[in-house]
């Protein structure tokens, strides 16, 4: 079995997001979804000094910058909404796996929009992964 770099990075992301699922519930037990979102953004800002590229962003196209900026806005919207879902009575054990089905939308849109091809093994893996997400959301 060979773990490609992209898979190792993805598993690391999975571990981080798994911890986050618990922190979301713990924080909204104590403060509002709005406050939790604001402090979440402050948490992101704490990473900025380590991320600053030290060069102008003019080397990148306005299109790419706009996409990444818009991605951030949608991430904030999604993050606020999941915190609000937990604050308004949603159980973490239901809301976390339920919202994890968002790749079903990605799997439909990405091949159409990005013209990416999926191998048979990856297709089987996606089917198992989506099945797993649906079972976890039960």
């Amino acid at each position: 079995m060979h773990f490609a770099p992209w898979l190792l990075f993805t598993i690391l992301a999975l571990l981080c997001f798994g911890v986050v699922g618990l922190l979301q519930k713990l924080s909204t037990d104590l403060i509002s979804a709005e406050s939790a979102l604001v402090w979440l953004v402050v948490g992101f800002l704490l990473l900025q000094p380590f991320l600053y590229p030290g060069q102008s962003f003019r080397i990148y196209s306005a299109r790419s910058i706009a996409f990444v900026f818009a991605a951030g806005s949608l991430n904030a919207l999604g993050s606020w909404a999941i915190l609000a879902a937990m604050k308004s009575g949603g159980k973490a054990s239901v809301v976390v796996p339920f919202t994890a089905v968002y790749p079903m939308v990605v799997c439909v849109v990405a091949p159409l929009l990005l013209h990416e091809h999926i191998t048979m093994m990856q297709g089987l893996g996606i089917a198992c992964g989506l099945g797993a997400i649906l079972l976890l959301a039960k």
């Binding site: 060979h2 992301a13 406050s35 991605a71 951030g72 054990s93």
Partner: protein, 145 residues
């Protein structure tokens, strides 16, 4: 005994739908943007994209209860760890990961949440969730070939 309310009549359900829409858009736009912009500058820029909503919430005065130190600490940690997770996700996209495959694999994170909830909060997994765990493991093994 009163019947349980239907999910789609509950506010949390619609907030969850909004999360799915937001995060699906986020994953796709991030992939498109990360083709040209490297991992670190990409997260640097993305954070500025997150800030406007936070500013609006502060200006709207809906953050008045943020004095609970524990709640604030959990939220801060939430931000830092999410940021690190997104860095890993961007690195996966830039090292040749297919958008659909990476998104599905990373979204198996409820496994970790359940494991932590079982360990720290004493919660138990149902039979279907156990089956989901097995399927998720198979998915990751299939992606490794």
């Amino acid at each position: 005994m009163a019947p349980a309310p239907r999910p789609f009549t509950q506010r949390w359900f619609w907030y969850s739908i909004l999360t799915i829409i937001g995060w699906a858009g986020w994953a796709i736009l991030l992939k498109i943007g990360s083709v040209e912009i490297p991992t670190k500058p990409s997260l640097f820029l993305q954070t500025f994209g997150m800030a406007p909503l936070a500013v609006v919430l502060v200006l709207a005065g809906s953050t008045g209860d943020a004095r609970n130190k524990k709640g604030v600490t959990y939220s801060l940690l939430n931000g830092v760890i999410t940021g690190i997770g997104i860095l890993c996700l961007l690195a996966a996209y830039r090292s040749g990961g297919n958008t659909s495959v990476v998104s599905v694999t990373a979204s198996l994170y409820p496994l970790v949440t359940f494991a932590l909830a079982a360990l720290l909060l004493g919660e138990r997994l149902s039979r279907s969730q156990m089956l989901g765990l097995v399927l998720a493991t198979i998915a990751i093994v299939l992606f490794s070939f």
